[in-house]
Symmetry: C2
Subunit: 317 residues, 2 copies
Protein backbone atom coordinates (compact mmCIF):
# COMPACT_ATOMS: atom_id res chain seq x y z
CA UNK A 1 0.00 0.00 0.00
CA UNK A 2 1.00 3.63 -0.32
CA UNK A 3 2.67 5.34 2.64
CA UNK A 4 4.93 8.31 3.45
CA UNK A 5 7.96 6.92 5.26
CA UNK A 6 10.60 8.67 7.37
CA UNK A 7 13.99 7.25 8.25
CA UNK A 8 16.79 5.95 6.08
CA UNK A 9 14.80 5.66 2.85
CA UNK A 10 12.48 8.64 3.38
CA UNK A 11 9.82 9.26 0.76
CA UNK A 12 6.44 8.07 -0.49
CA UNK A 13 6.42 4.34 -1.17
CA UNK A 14 3.75 2.33 -2.93
CA UNK A 15 4.98 -1.09 -1.77
CA UNK A 16 4.64 -0.52 1.99
CA UNK A 17 3.18 -3.61 3.72
CA UNK A 18 -0.50 -3.54 4.70
CA UNK A 19 -0.49 -3.28 8.52
CA UNK A 20 -1.85 -6.38 10.31
CA UNK A 21 -4.10 -5.68 13.31
CA UNK A 22 -4.01 -7.93 16.39
CA UNK A 23 -7.29 -9.30 17.81
CA UNK A 24 -7.77 -6.16 19.93
CA UNK A 25 -6.78 -3.73 17.20
CA UNK A 26 -8.71 -2.24 14.31
CA UNK A 27 -7.63 -1.78 10.69
CA UNK A 28 -8.72 1.67 9.51
CA UNK A 29 -8.77 2.95 5.90
CA UNK A 30 -7.54 6.54 6.14
CA UNK A 31 -9.79 9.23 4.61
CA UNK A 32 -7.68 12.24 5.50
CA UNK A 33 -4.75 13.04 7.80
CA UNK A 34 -3.44 16.31 9.27
CA UNK A 35 0.16 17.48 9.42
CA UNK A 36 1.30 18.65 12.88
CA UNK A 37 4.44 20.56 13.82
CA UNK A 38 5.61 17.37 15.51
CA UNK A 39 5.67 15.67 12.09
CA UNK A 40 8.06 18.35 10.88
CA UNK A 41 10.27 17.79 13.93
CA UNK A 42 10.16 14.01 13.30
CA UNK A 43 11.25 14.55 9.72
CA UNK A 44 14.27 16.44 11.13
CA UNK A 45 15.19 13.56 13.44
CA UNK A 46 13.17 14.21 16.64
CA UNK A 47 12.61 10.97 18.58
CA UNK A 48 14.82 9.15 16.01
CA UNK A 49 11.57 8.06 14.44
CA UNK A 50 11.65 5.68 11.46
CA UNK A 51 8.38 4.59 9.86
CA UNK A 52 5.11 6.27 8.86
CA UNK A 53 4.38 9.56 10.66
CA UNK A 54 0.93 11.15 11.04
CA UNK A 55 -1.11 11.09 14.27
CA UNK A 56 -4.15 13.14 13.20
CA UNK A 57 -6.49 11.13 10.97
CA UNK A 58 -10.07 10.35 10.06
CA UNK A 59 -10.87 6.95 8.55
CA UNK A 60 -13.33 4.10 8.22
CA UNK A 61 -12.88 0.84 10.15
CA UNK A 62 -12.46 -2.15 7.82
CA UNK A 63 -11.60 -4.88 10.30
CA UNK A 64 -11.83 -5.40 14.10
CA UNK A 65 -12.10 -8.86 15.67
CA UNK A 66 -12.63 -7.63 19.23
CA UNK A 67 -15.27 -5.03 18.39
CA UNK A 68 -17.10 -6.07 15.20
CA UNK A 69 -19.81 -3.41 15.71
CA UNK A 70 -17.33 -0.69 14.84
CA UNK A 71 -16.61 -2.02 11.33
CA UNK A 72 -17.83 0.48 8.74
CA UNK A 73 -17.87 3.38 11.21
CA UNK A 74 -16.05 6.66 10.62
CA UNK A 75 -13.54 7.18 13.40
CA UNK A 76 -10.73 9.28 14.85
CA UNK A 77 -8.24 7.80 17.29
CA UNK A 78 -6.27 8.55 20.44
CA UNK A 79 -2.58 8.26 19.75
CA UNK A 80 -1.15 6.77 22.98
CA UNK A 81 -1.22 2.96 23.17
CA UNK A 82 -0.40 2.03 26.79
CA UNK A 83 0.34 -1.37 28.34
CA UNK A 84 -2.54 -0.93 30.85
CA UNK A 85 -0.56 -2.98 33.36
CA UNK A 86 2.27 -0.84 34.79
CA UNK A 87 2.27 1.39 37.89
CA UNK A 88 1.46 4.53 35.85
CA UNK A 89 -1.32 2.85 33.85
CA UNK A 90 -2.88 1.53 37.06
CA UNK A 91 -2.71 5.05 38.49
CA UNK A 92 -4.71 6.29 35.50
CA UNK A 93 -1.71 7.94 33.83
CA UNK A 94 -2.05 5.77 30.70
CA UNK A 95 -0.84 8.59 28.42
CA UNK A 96 2.45 8.39 30.34
CA UNK A 97 2.91 4.61 30.24
CA UNK A 98 6.69 4.16 29.87
CA UNK A 99 6.25 1.25 27.45
CA UNK A 100 3.55 2.95 25.36
CA UNK A 101 3.73 3.23 21.61
CA UNK A 102 2.50 6.48 20.09
CA UNK A 103 0.80 6.61 16.70
CA UNK A 104 3.19 7.95 14.09
CA UNK A 105 5.58 9.22 16.77
CA UNK A 106 7.08 6.29 18.66
CA UNK A 107 7.09 2.57 17.86
CA UNK A 108 3.91 2.60 15.74
CA UNK A 109 3.20 3.57 12.14
CA UNK A 110 0.87 6.52 11.69
CA UNK A 111 -1.74 7.88 9.33
CA UNK A 112 0.15 9.26 6.32
CA UNK A 113 -0.77 6.01 4.57
CA UNK A 114 -3.74 4.24 3.03
CA UNK A 115 -4.28 2.20 6.20
CA UNK A 116 -3.56 2.62 9.88
CA UNK A 117 -3.89 0.23 12.86
CA UNK A 118 -4.89 1.23 16.40
CA UNK A 119 -6.28 -0.58 19.47
CA UNK A 120 -10.08 -0.62 19.22
CA UNK A 121 -10.28 1.14 22.59
CA UNK A 122 -8.48 4.16 21.15
CA UNK A 123 -11.16 4.85 18.53
CA UNK A 124 -13.96 7.41 18.76
CA UNK A 125 -16.84 7.46 16.32
CA UNK A 126 -17.22 10.75 14.45
CA UNK A 127 -20.67 12.42 14.81
CA UNK A 128 -22.60 12.45 11.51
CA UNK A 129 -22.77 16.21 11.22
CA UNK A 130 -19.01 16.63 11.04
CA UNK A 131 -17.05 16.61 7.80
CA UNK A 132 -13.75 14.74 7.59
CA UNK A 133 -12.01 18.12 7.32
CA UNK A 134 -13.50 19.16 10.67
CA UNK A 135 -13.11 15.80 12.44
CA UNK A 136 -9.39 15.66 11.61
CA UNK A 137 -8.95 18.46 14.17
CA UNK A 138 -10.12 16.15 16.99
CA UNK A 139 -6.57 15.25 18.05
CA UNK A 140 -5.10 18.78 18.28
CA UNK A 141 -8.36 20.04 19.80
CA UNK A 142 -8.12 17.30 22.44
CA UNK A 143 -4.64 18.63 23.26
CA UNK A 144 -6.23 22.06 23.74
CA UNK A 145 -8.93 20.55 25.99
CA UNK A 146 -6.11 19.04 28.07
CA UNK A 147 -5.54 22.56 29.42
CA UNK A 148 -9.07 22.58 30.87
CA UNK A 149 -8.66 19.00 32.14
CA UNK A 150 -5.57 20.16 34.05
CA UNK A 151 -7.58 22.97 35.63
CA UNK A 152 -5.19 25.56 34.24
CA UNK A 153 -7.81 28.05 33.00
CA UNK A 154 -9.52 30.15 35.69
CA UNK A 155 -13.14 30.71 34.64
CA UNK A 156 -13.19 34.32 35.77
CA UNK A 157 -9.58 35.06 34.93
CA UNK A 158 -7.58 36.78 32.20
CA UNK A 159 -5.94 34.26 29.90
CA UNK A 160 -3.28 34.99 27.32
CA UNK A 161 -2.64 32.57 24.47
CA UNK A 162 0.78 33.17 22.93
CA UNK A 163 0.83 32.14 19.28
CA UNK A 164 -1.82 32.29 16.56
CA UNK A 165 -0.88 28.99 14.96
CA UNK A 166 -3.18 25.98 14.81
CA UNK A 167 -2.90 25.09 18.49
CA UNK A 168 -3.12 28.71 19.62
CA UNK A 169 -6.38 29.24 17.73
CA UNK A 170 -7.83 26.07 19.28
CA UNK A 171 -6.55 26.83 22.80
CA UNK A 172 -8.05 30.33 22.67
CA UNK A 173 -11.48 28.95 21.76
CA UNK A 174 -11.30 26.30 24.47
CA UNK A 175 -10.26 28.80 27.16
CA UNK A 176 -13.22 30.99 26.15
CA UNK A 177 -15.62 28.06 26.71
CA UNK A 178 -15.12 28.17 30.49
CA UNK A 179 -15.80 31.90 30.66
CA UNK A 180 -12.27 33.28 30.85
CA UNK A 181 -11.45 36.63 29.28
CA UNK A 182 -9.15 35.48 26.49
CA UNK A 183 -6.38 37.35 24.71
CA UNK A 184 -4.30 36.04 21.81
CA UNK A 185 -0.97 37.50 20.78
CA UNK A 186 0.18 36.55 17.31
CA UNK A 187 1.67 37.70 14.05
CA UNK A 188 -1.31 37.30 11.72
CA UNK A 189 -3.93 39.92 12.45
CA UNK A 190 -6.21 38.42 9.76
CA UNK A 191 -6.63 35.33 11.95
CA UNK A 192 -8.71 37.38 14.40
CA UNK A 193 -11.47 36.66 11.85
CA UNK A 194 -11.29 32.93 12.69
CA UNK A 195 -12.04 33.77 16.33
CA UNK A 196 -14.77 36.35 15.67
CA UNK A 197 -17.52 33.99 16.89
CA UNK A 198 -16.15 33.81 20.42
CA UNK A 199 -15.11 37.33 21.53
CA UNK A 200 -11.38 36.79 21.86
CA UNK A 201 -9.10 39.85 22.01
CA UNK A 202 -6.43 39.67 19.33
CA UNK A 203 -3.11 41.49 19.78
CA UNK A 204 -0.45 41.82 17.14
CA UNK A 205 3.13 41.29 18.30
CA UNK A 206 2.95 42.93 21.73
CA UNK A 207 0.83 42.66 24.87
CA UNK A 208 0.81 44.82 27.97
CA UNK A 209 0.78 45.13 30.89
CA UNK A 210 3.32 42.68 32.24
CA UNK A 211 2.59 40.48 35.24
CA UNK A 212 -1.14 40.71 34.65
CA UNK A 213 -2.46 37.42 33.20
CA UNK A 214 -3.80 34.71 35.48
CA UNK A 215 -2.78 32.09 32.94
CA UNK A 216 -0.51 32.22 29.89
CA UNK A 217 -0.73 29.38 27.36
CA UNK A 218 2.55 29.16 25.44
CA UNK A 219 1.72 27.79 21.96
CA UNK A 220 4.31 29.60 19.84
CA UNK A 221 6.49 26.59 19.06
CA UNK A 222 9.42 28.85 19.90
CA UNK A 223 11.43 27.90 23.00
CA UNK A 224 12.51 31.52 23.51
CA UNK A 225 8.91 32.63 24.11
CA UNK A 226 8.91 31.21 27.64
CA UNK A 227 10.92 34.12 29.06
CA UNK A 228 8.23 36.46 27.73
CA UNK A 229 5.48 34.22 29.13
CA UNK A 230 7.05 34.46 32.60
CA UNK A 231 6.99 38.27 32.33
CA UNK A 232 3.34 38.39 31.26
CA UNK A 233 2.02 36.01 33.92
CA UNK A 234 0.88 37.45 37.24
CA UNK A 235 2.52 36.33 40.50
CA UNK A 236 0.96 33.03 41.56
CA UNK A 237 -0.37 32.46 38.02
CA UNK A 238 0.05 29.55 35.63
CA UNK A 239 2.12 29.23 32.46
CA UNK A 240 0.99 26.28 30.34
CA UNK A 241 3.86 24.77 28.34
CA UNK A 242 2.84 23.34 24.96
CA UNK A 243 6.04 23.92 23.00
CA UNK A 244 8.46 21.03 22.48
CA UNK A 245 11.79 21.59 20.79
CA UNK A 246 14.85 19.53 20.05
CA UNK A 247 17.23 22.35 20.93
CA UNK A 248 17.66 23.53 24.55
CA UNK A 249 17.40 27.23 25.24
CA UNK A 250 18.87 29.65 27.72
CA UNK A 251 16.59 30.58 30.52
CA UNK A 252 16.61 32.00 34.02
CA UNK A 253 13.77 30.62 36.10
CA UNK A 254 14.47 32.95 39.04
CA UNK A 255 11.46 35.04 37.97
CA UNK A 256 9.28 31.91 38.29
CA UNK A 257 10.61 31.32 41.81
CA UNK A 258 10.26 34.91 43.02
CA UNK A 259 6.77 35.28 41.50
CA UNK A 260 5.81 31.72 42.50
CA UNK A 261 4.59 30.91 39.01
CA UNK A 262 3.34 27.43 38.17
CA UNK A 263 4.71 26.07 34.88
CA UNK A 264 2.53 23.25 33.68
CA UNK A 265 3.61 20.80 30.98
CA UNK A 266 0.62 19.86 28.82
CA UNK A 267 0.38 17.27 26.06
CA UNK A 268 -2.43 14.97 24.85
CA UNK A 269 -6.01 15.42 25.91
CA UNK A 270 -9.53 13.97 25.91
CA UNK A 271 -11.19 13.27 22.54
CA UNK A 272 -14.82 13.14 23.68
CA UNK A 273 -15.20 16.83 24.62
CA UNK A 274 -13.25 17.79 21.50
CA UNK A 275 -15.67 15.91 19.22
CA UNK A 276 -18.69 17.31 21.08
CA UNK A 277 -17.38 20.89 20.79
CA UNK A 278 -16.82 20.45 17.05
CA UNK A 279 -20.31 18.92 16.64
CA UNK A 280 -21.95 21.71 18.69
CA UNK A 281 -20.03 24.38 16.81
CA UNK A 282 -18.70 25.90 20.05
CA UNK A 283 -15.22 25.37 18.64
CA UNK A 284 -14.86 26.17 14.94
CA UNK A 285 -12.13 25.09 12.57
CA UNK A 286 -13.55 26.52 9.36
CA UNK A 287 -10.84 28.48 7.56
CA UNK A 288 -8.03 26.68 9.33
CA UNK A 289 -7.18 24.30 6.45
CA UNK A 290 -4.64 25.93 4.17
CA UNK A 291 -4.14 23.19 1.59
CA UNK A 292 -4.81 19.49 0.90
CA UNK A 293 -2.23 17.28 -0.79
CA UNK A 294 -2.53 13.87 -2.31
CA UNK A 295 -0.55 11.25 -0.35
CA UNK A 296 1.68 10.80 -3.41
CA UNK A 297 2.77 14.43 -2.83
CA UNK A 298 3.32 13.78 0.88
CA UNK A 299 6.83 15.27 0.97
CA UNK A 300 5.55 18.48 -0.61
CA UNK A 301 2.86 18.56 2.08
CA UNK A 302 5.49 18.35 4.84
CA UNK A 303 7.53 21.03 3.15
CA UNK A 304 4.52 23.36 2.90
CA UNK A 305 3.59 22.71 6.54
CA UNK A 306 7.16 23.54 7.62
CA UNK A 307 6.90 27.08 6.24
CA UNK A 308 6.53 29.65 9.01
CA UNK A 309 2.95 30.82 9.55
CA UNK A 310 1.24 27.92 7.77
CA UNK A 311 -2.13 26.79 9.08
CA UNK A 312 -3.34 23.17 8.74
CA UNK A 313 -2.08 21.06 5.84
CA UNK A 314 -4.04 17.88 5.07
CA UNK A 315 -2.94 14.71 3.26
CA UNK A 316 -5.42 12.51 1.39
CA UNK A 317 -4.59 8.93 0.36
CA UNK B 1 24.79 52.30 65.57
CA UNK B 2 26.79 49.38 64.21
CA UNK B 3 25.66 47.79 60.92
CA UNK B 4 27.02 45.72 58.06
CA UNK B 5 26.42 47.69 54.87
CA UNK B 6 26.48 46.59 51.22
CA UNK B 7 26.80 48.90 48.25
CA UNK B 8 29.41 51.48 47.34
CA UNK B 9 31.10 51.67 50.76
CA UNK B 10 30.62 48.03 51.81
CA UNK B 11 31.76 47.06 55.28
CA UNK B 12 30.88 47.22 58.96
CA UNK B 13 30.16 50.78 60.04
CA UNK B 14 29.72 52.05 63.59
CA UNK B 15 28.12 55.37 62.63
CA UNK B 16 25.08 54.01 60.78
CA UNK B 17 21.93 56.00 61.68
CA UNK B 18 19.50 54.45 64.17
CA UNK B 19 16.44 53.49 62.06
CA UNK B 20 13.30 55.53 62.85
CA UNK B 21 10.05 53.53 62.96
CA UNK B 22 6.79 55.04 61.69
CA UNK B 23 3.65 54.89 63.92
CA UNK B 24 2.77 51.43 62.54
CA UNK B 25 6.31 50.06 62.72
CA UNK B 26 8.33 48.60 65.56
CA UNK B 27 11.94 49.23 66.49
CA UNK B 28 13.61 45.93 67.36
CA UNK B 29 16.99 45.44 69.04
CA UNK B 30 18.57 42.52 67.21
CA UNK B 31 19.73 39.56 69.36
CA UNK B 32 20.99 37.35 66.55
CA UNK B 33 20.68 37.19 62.76
CA UNK B 34 21.20 34.34 60.27
CA UNK B 35 23.10 34.49 56.98
CA UNK B 36 21.17 33.14 53.98
CA UNK B 37 22.49 32.30 50.52
CA UNK B 38 20.51 35.31 49.29
CA UNK B 39 22.76 37.55 51.40
CA UNK B 40 25.78 36.15 49.57
CA UNK B 41 24.06 36.84 46.23
CA UNK B 42 23.23 40.39 47.39
CA UNK B 43 26.87 40.96 48.30
CA UNK B 44 27.72 40.01 44.70
CA UNK B 45 25.25 42.52 43.28
CA UNK B 46 21.94 40.63 43.11
CA UNK B 47 18.96 43.03 43.15
CA UNK B 48 21.45 45.95 43.05
CA UNK B 49 20.92 46.12 46.79
CA UNK B 50 22.56 48.89 48.78
CA UNK B 51 22.04 49.06 52.53
CA UNK B 52 21.96 46.60 55.44
CA UNK B 53 21.26 42.97 54.42
CA UNK B 54 19.93 40.25 56.74
CA UNK B 55 16.35 38.99 56.71
CA UNK B 56 16.56 36.25 59.37
CA UNK B 57 16.65 37.73 62.87
CA UNK B 58 15.48 37.39 66.46
CA UNK B 59 15.21 40.51 68.59
CA UNK B 60 13.40 42.35 71.37
CA UNK B 61 10.91 45.13 70.60
CA UNK B 62 12.01 48.45 72.06
CA UNK B 63 9.40 50.79 70.56
CA UNK B 64 6.02 50.47 68.85
CA UNK B 65 3.41 53.24 68.91
CA UNK B 66 0.65 51.23 67.21
CA UNK B 67 1.05 48.09 69.32
CA UNK B 68 2.47 49.04 72.72
CA UNK B 69 1.74 45.56 74.16
CA UNK B 70 4.52 44.10 72.04
CA UNK B 71 7.28 46.24 73.59
CA UNK B 72 9.72 44.03 75.51
CA UNK B 73 8.66 40.88 73.64
CA UNK B 74 11.09 38.62 71.82
CA UNK B 75 10.10 38.46 68.15
CA UNK B 76 10.89 37.21 64.67
CA UNK B 77 9.51 38.96 61.59
CA UNK B 78 8.06 38.34 58.15
CA UNK B 79 10.20 40.02 55.54
CA UNK B 80 7.68 41.26 52.94
CA UNK B 81 6.18 44.68 53.64
CA UNK B 82 3.26 45.14 51.20
CA UNK B 83 1.13 48.21 50.43
CA UNK B 84 -2.09 46.32 51.38
CA UNK B 85 -3.95 48.41 48.81
CA UNK B 86 -3.10 47.14 45.31
CA UNK B 87 -4.88 44.49 43.22
CA UNK B 88 -2.51 41.72 44.35
CA UNK B 89 -2.69 42.68 48.05
CA UNK B 90 -6.50 42.76 47.87
CA UNK B 91 -6.39 39.29 46.29
CA UNK B 92 -4.41 38.04 49.29
CA UNK B 93 -1.12 37.90 47.38
CA UNK B 94 0.56 40.37 49.75
CA UNK B 95 3.95 38.64 49.41
CA UNK B 96 3.80 39.58 45.72
CA UNK B 97 2.79 43.23 46.13
CA UNK B 98 4.65 45.02 43.32
CA UNK B 99 5.44 48.00 45.55
CA UNK B 100 6.53 45.95 48.56
CA UNK B 101 9.78 46.46 50.36
CA UNK B 102 11.59 43.35 51.54
CA UNK B 103 13.66 43.29 54.72
CA UNK B 104 17.35 43.38 53.87
CA UNK B 105 16.67 42.54 50.22
CA UNK B 106 14.77 45.36 48.57
CA UNK B 107 14.15 48.92 49.71
CA UNK B 108 14.49 48.24 53.44
CA UNK B 109 17.47 47.78 55.77
CA UNK B 110 17.81 44.35 57.35
CA UNK B 111 19.02 42.66 60.48
CA UNK B 112 22.81 42.62 60.26
CA UNK B 113 22.74 45.62 62.60
CA UNK B 114 22.05 46.53 66.20
CA UNK B 115 18.51 47.61 65.36
CA UNK B 116 15.94 46.77 62.72
CA UNK B 117 12.53 48.27 61.87
CA UNK B 118 9.50 46.32 60.59
CA UNK B 119 5.72 46.91 60.46
CA UNK B 120 4.21 45.68 63.75
CA UNK B 121 1.94 43.35 61.77
CA UNK B 122 4.98 41.47 60.47
CA UNK B 123 6.17 40.42 63.92
CA UNK B 124 5.59 37.06 65.59
CA UNK B 125 6.30 36.49 69.27
CA UNK B 126 8.81 33.71 69.91
CA UNK B 127 7.52 30.92 72.24
CA UNK B 128 9.37 30.87 75.59
CA UNK B 129 10.83 27.40 75.16
CA UNK B 130 12.82 28.35 72.06
CA UNK B 131 16.37 29.69 72.20
CA UNK B 132 17.39 32.57 69.95
CA UNK B 133 19.56 30.11 67.99
CA UNK B 134 16.48 28.00 67.24
CA UNK B 135 14.05 30.87 66.63
CA UNK B 136 16.37 32.45 64.06
CA UNK B 137 15.41 29.53 61.76
CA UNK B 138 11.77 30.69 61.68
CA UNK B 139 12.18 32.54 58.36
CA UNK B 140 13.87 29.76 56.34
CA UNK B 141 11.58 27.18 57.97
CA UNK B 142 8.58 29.26 56.91
CA UNK B 143 9.94 29.09 53.35
CA UNK B 144 10.00 25.30 53.72
CA UNK B 145 6.39 25.32 55.03
CA UNK B 146 5.44 27.28 51.90
CA UNK B 147 5.80 23.97 50.02
CA UNK B 148 3.02 22.46 52.15
CA UNK B 149 0.93 25.64 51.85
CA UNK B 150 1.15 25.27 48.06
CA UNK B 151 -0.08 21.69 48.31
CA UNK B 152 3.03 20.40 46.58
CA UNK B 153 3.72 17.45 48.89
CA UNK B 154 1.45 14.42 48.45
CA UNK B 155 0.86 12.86 51.90
CA UNK B 156 1.15 9.30 50.61
CA UNK B 157 3.75 10.01 47.94
CA UNK B 158 7.48 9.66 47.43
CA UNK B 159 9.25 12.98 47.79
CA UNK B 160 12.83 13.72 46.84
CA UNK B 161 14.62 16.72 48.32
CA UNK B 162 17.65 17.65 46.21
CA UNK B 163 20.32 19.32 48.31
CA UNK B 164 21.39 18.81 51.92
CA UNK B 165 22.02 22.46 52.65
CA UNK B 166 20.07 24.48 55.20
CA UNK B 167 16.86 24.67 53.17
CA UNK B 168 17.08 21.04 52.06
CA UNK B 169 17.32 19.81 55.66
CA UNK B 170 14.31 21.92 56.63
CA UNK B 171 12.25 20.98 53.54
CA UNK B 172 12.88 17.27 54.17
CA UNK B 173 11.60 17.53 57.74
CA UNK B 174 8.55 19.51 56.67
CA UNK B 175 7.68 17.04 53.88
CA UNK B 176 7.92 14.23 56.43
CA UNK B 177 5.35 15.98 58.67
CA UNK B 178 2.50 15.30 56.22
CA UNK B 179 3.36 11.62 55.96
CA UNK B 180 5.27 11.51 52.70
CA UNK B 181 8.08 9.02 52.20
CA UNK B 182 11.03 11.43 52.03
CA UNK B 183 14.39 11.00 50.32
CA UNK B 184 17.26 13.48 50.42
CA UNK B 185 20.12 13.49 47.96
CA UNK B 186 23.17 15.43 49.06
CA UNK B 187 26.93 15.53 49.33
CA UNK B 188 27.35 15.33 53.10
CA UNK B 189 26.47 11.87 54.37
CA UNK B 190 27.13 13.00 57.97
CA UNK B 191 24.07 15.26 57.75
CA UNK B 192 21.83 12.18 57.76
CA UNK B 193 22.43 12.39 61.53
CA UNK B 194 20.53 15.71 61.64
CA UNK B 195 17.49 13.97 60.15
CA UNK B 196 17.69 10.81 62.26
CA UNK B 197 14.64 11.77 64.33
CA UNK B 198 12.30 11.73 61.35
CA UNK B 199 13.07 8.66 59.21
CA UNK B 200 14.28 10.35 56.07
CA UNK B 201 16.24 8.30 53.52
CA UNK B 202 19.58 9.89 52.78
CA UNK B 203 21.35 9.28 49.45
CA UNK B 204 24.82 10.41 48.62
CA UNK B 205 25.32 11.90 45.16
CA UNK B 206 22.98 9.68 43.15
CA UNK B 207 19.34 8.58 43.27
CA UNK B 208 17.52 6.01 41.22
CA UNK B 209 15.21 5.13 39.65
CA UNK B 210 14.42 7.97 37.29
CA UNK B 211 10.85 9.16 36.70
CA UNK B 212 9.74 7.80 40.05
CA UNK B 213 9.21 10.63 42.55
CA UNK B 214 5.79 12.23 42.98
CA UNK B 215 7.44 15.47 44.01
CA UNK B 216 11.00 16.73 43.74
CA UNK B 217 12.02 19.76 45.82
CA UNK B 218 14.99 21.46 44.19
CA UNK B 219 17.02 23.11 47.00
CA UNK B 220 20.56 22.75 45.64
CA UNK B 221 21.14 26.42 44.86
CA UNK B 222 22.55 25.20 41.56
CA UNK B 223 20.58 26.15 38.44
CA UNK B 224 21.91 23.11 36.57
CA UNK B 225 20.17 20.73 38.99
CA UNK B 226 16.79 21.34 37.37
CA UNK B 227 17.52 19.08 34.40
CA UNK B 228 18.21 16.27 36.87
CA UNK B 229 15.03 17.10 38.82
CA UNK B 230 12.98 16.73 35.62
CA UNK B 231 14.48 13.29 35.07
CA UNK B 232 13.75 12.12 38.63
CA UNK B 233 10.14 13.35 38.75
CA UNK B 234 7.40 10.98 37.63
CA UNK B 235 5.06 11.94 34.77
CA UNK B 236 2.37 14.23 36.15
CA UNK B 237 4.48 14.97 39.24
CA UNK B 238 5.63 18.27 40.74
CA UNK B 239 9.06 19.89 40.79
CA UNK B 240 9.28 22.62 43.42
CA UNK B 241 11.70 25.38 42.43
CA UNK B 242 13.51 27.00 45.36
CA UNK B 243 16.77 27.96 43.65
CA UNK B 244 17.30 31.55 42.52
CA UNK B 245 20.39 32.50 40.56
CA UNK B 246 21.68 35.59 38.84
CA UNK B 247 23.01 33.65 35.85
CA UNK B 248 20.63 32.00 33.34
CA UNK B 249 21.20 28.38 32.46
CA UNK B 250 20.67 26.18 29.45
CA UNK B 251 17.64 24.00 29.65
CA UNK B 252 15.26 22.02 27.48
CA UNK B 253 11.80 21.93 28.98
CA UNK B 254 10.50 19.44 26.38
CA UNK B 255 10.74 16.71 29.03
CA UNK B 256 8.42 18.76 31.26
CA UNK B 257 5.92 19.07 28.40
CA UNK B 258 6.02 15.42 27.34
CA UNK B 259 5.81 14.17 30.96
CA UNK B 260 3.32 16.91 31.90
CA UNK B 261 5.37 17.93 34.92
CA UNK B 262 4.29 20.85 37.08
CA UNK B 263 7.15 23.21 37.96
CA UNK B 264 6.18 25.29 40.95
CA UNK B 265 8.06 28.42 42.00
CA UNK B 266 8.15 28.68 45.79
CA UNK B 267 9.40 31.53 47.98
CA UNK B 268 8.35 32.91 51.38
CA UNK B 269 6.02 31.03 53.69
CA UNK B 270 3.95 31.18 56.86
CA UNK B 271 5.73 31.90 60.18
CA UNK B 272 3.09 30.54 62.57
CA UNK B 273 3.42 26.84 61.66
CA UNK B 274 7.20 27.23 61.53
CA UNK B 275 7.34 28.58 65.10
CA UNK B 276 4.92 25.88 66.31
CA UNK B 277 6.97 23.10 64.69
CA UNK B 278 10.15 24.42 66.32
CA UNK B 279 8.40 24.70 69.70
CA UNK B 280 6.93 21.19 69.40
CA UNK B 281 10.27 19.75 68.30
CA UNK B 282 8.73 18.19 65.18
CA UNK B 283 11.28 20.16 63.17
CA UNK B 284 14.76 20.26 64.69
CA UNK B 285 17.56 22.67 63.93
CA UNK B 286 20.08 21.48 66.54
CA UNK B 287 23.45 20.95 64.89
CA UNK B 288 22.64 23.24 61.97
CA UNK B 289 24.57 26.27 63.28
CA UNK B 290 28.15 26.10 62.07
CA UNK B 291 29.56 29.28 63.58
CA UNK B 292 28.55 32.56 65.23
CA UNK B 293 30.36 35.81 64.42
CA UNK B 294 30.30 39.15 66.16
CA UNK B 295 28.70 41.85 64.00
CA UNK B 296 32.06 43.63 63.89
CA UNK B 297 33.34 40.56 61.98
CA UNK B 298 30.30 40.61 59.67
CA UNK B 299 32.32 40.46 56.45
CA UNK B 300 34.15 37.36 57.71
CA UNK B 301 30.75 35.84 58.48
CA UNK B 302 29.59 36.42 54.88
CA UNK B 303 32.83 34.99 53.58
CA UNK B 304 32.47 31.86 55.72
CA UNK B 305 28.82 31.43 54.68
CA UNK B 306 29.84 31.68 51.02
CA UNK B 307 32.09 28.60 51.25
CA UNK B 308 30.52 25.58 49.61
CA UNK B 309 28.87 23.17 52.04
CA UNK B 310 28.56 25.59 54.94
CA UNK B 311 25.53 25.22 57.24
CA UNK B 312 24.04 28.19 59.12
CA UNK B 313 26.26 31.12 60.04
CA UNK B 314 24.93 33.52 62.68
CA UNK B 315 25.82 37.15 63.36
CA UNK B 316 25.48 38.69 66.83
CA UNK B 317 25.51 42.45 67.40
Amino acid sequence: VQALVLGEQAGVRSDYPLPAPSRTEALVRVSVAGVCRTDIELSKGYMDFAGVPGHEFVGVVEECVALPGIVGKRVVGEINCPCLDCRLCRAGLTNHCPSRTVLGISGRDGGFAEYVVLPAGNLHEVPDGLSDEEAVFAEPLAAAFRILQQGAVPTDGDVLVMGDGKLGLLAAQVARLVGASVHVVGRHLERAELLRHCSVNFHEAEVTPTHSFDAVVECTGDADALAQALKLCRPGGTVVLKTTTTEPNTLNLTEAVVNEIKLLGSRCGPFAPALRALADGTVRVGGMVEATYDLSDGLAALEHAARSGTLKILIQP
